[in-house]
Each structure stands twice: as C-alpha cells, then as structure tokens.
Symmetry: C2
Subunit: 141 residues, 2 copies
Amino acid sequence: MQLSPAYKTIFNKALEKSSLKPTKQREHIFSLILDKKDHPTADEIFTRSRDTMPTISLATVYNCLETLVESGLIRQVNFERESTRYCPNLKPHAHFLCKNTGNIYDVDLPDSIFSALKKNLPENFQTEQIDINFNGSIKKN
Amino acid sequence: MQLSPAYKTIFNKALEKSSLKPTKQREHIFSLILDKKDHPTADEIFTRSRDTMPTISLATVYNCLETLVESGLIRQVNFERESTRYCPNLKPHAHFLCKNTGNIYDVDLPDSIFSALKKNLPENFQTEQIDINFNGSIKKN
DNA sequence: AAATTAATTTAGAATTATTCTAATTACACT
DNA sequence: AGTGTAATTAGAATAATTCTAAATTAATTT
C-alpha cells in the first residue's frame, strides 16, 4: 500500500503537470489500483481503501479517481452502462469481458490496428481516443 | 410513422423468432428509430413517441427497446456512462462521438478489421461481440 | 509562530437513468 | 362469450454518480 519510488515520481510529476496536489488520499488510491489490477469499480476501491485508510469517504474516492484520470495516471473502462472501472495500464490496449465470470482482461494491441481503424473515418474526423471492448467467454481446455 | 412492407416483414419475423408479439407499441418505436437515425436515447424516443402515440409510457418504451434489442432489430450504443442510445444499423460498424456537438456517426468497417482484432486474443477467448468507439472532433474545411 | 488563503476532504443530500412491482389491458384460443 | 397469457402502464424503487456546503489540511505571507 505504498508507491515504489519510481511510481511516486510518476505520480508527483503527473499531478504537478495538472496543478493538482499529491495528497495522501490520491496516492493511496493510486497505489491500490496499481496493486490489484482487476479493474475495480469506485465502490470496490472504496471498500479496499477503508482497510488501510478507515476515514476516507466515498466522495473522496470519486474525487481522487477523477483527478487520477485527469492527470493521465489511470483510465476508465466502461462496459455497457455498468459501473465505471479503473485501469492503470496506459499502453494502447482493449478490454475483454468474460460474460461467465465478469472478469475483465487487458488485450494488448499493436499501434497498427489503431491506424487501420482510423483509415475508415472521413478525413475531417479527428480522433482523440478509441475504445475497444470485446464481449465473450473463455473456453477452458 | 409506418413501417414499409419490407421492414414490417423483417419486424414480424424477428419477433416471432424470439416468441414475442408484434404489438403496435413495438412497431411504433421500431419505426421511429428507423425514421430518424440519430442514435436517440430512451427518453428522446419516449418524447418522439408521444407525438403520435400520446398514451405510451416510459416503461413501455424501455420494455420495447429491450425486446427490439433482444430480437436483433436494433443495437445499443454506449459512450462512457451516458444514457444508452439505439441504432438500427446492423452492419458491422463502429461509432464516432463528436465531443463538440455530441453527435454520433456510424463508421462502417470491413470484416477484416474485426478478424485482425481477434488475432490479438489468447486462443481460448471466444468473442461474441466487439464494440468500437471513437471519440474526437470534426474539423470543418 | 500566527494569520491568511486556496485546495482538498468529508458526509449526506440530490440527481438521473434504469429497473421493478403490481394492477390493468389486449389479444389469441377454446 | 370466457379463459389464459403476454404486454402495457403508472408510479415506486434502485444504484451509480454528482453536488453542496462545511470542515480540514497544507502552503504562504505576515
């Protein structure tokens, strides 16, 4: 429940860049997300936070998540209208939701596929972000 | 506000296949979605419905949308956790959300891109659906 | 060190989209 | 015409998130 020196630096830099303060609540939540990369919801993060920081409030969890997204340290993951989930993997990747278990998996993708996708847009469409979600199941063998 | 004979047949067949009744509310909502393909929300559909069917309820709109999705006549479109939108385009395609106007555009995609995407999954991952969302803006020129 | 300021945290209320519930209505089939 | 099943309806309930206003914290100036 403690950021490594390397991440601590990344954390400080990212927040500073957005003129946000590196508070202990923000750091705590960031470290929780790095610690268990199972794409938790705000509520799950709230519950986990309470174990080691019993006074944190749900509103603070939401606030911190917002600032972490804003400063580019984590990203949101949405499937349909389910609760928003949070992911610290910043490489370009997609998500796979297993309909049986509810687990979400990161799917690394080459840059080439993002450029191939953009080729299908009219030229005046400027893309800022592409979200790719797989739905399916995982066969055991 | 009337289905063409061709769509009427598609509509009847699709509902029959799911053992659902082709009621006038369901038909009305389906025809509204076909008439104005601007990816309306349930609430927008409700408002539009009222113009020509003043007694329809919001619950019915939600119910009908659910059955239309279930029977494969329309699909849901979700950006982040915004209200679910509905789309009658059944060809494989993505969506582009313009952050300035809020408009959503269909982006036709070749099948090849879907198979290219699936190649990045572990072999035991079985895909049922892939959702692709672009975010950005449209440059006028 | 005390005072000032601005940002952050907090608890709880408010909001919003959607789902649920239970009663009514509509329709197909005896 | 009567019965049974599915669909519709109005309004209540739910759940995730955002808002509000007060309290706390941290940094800066006096």
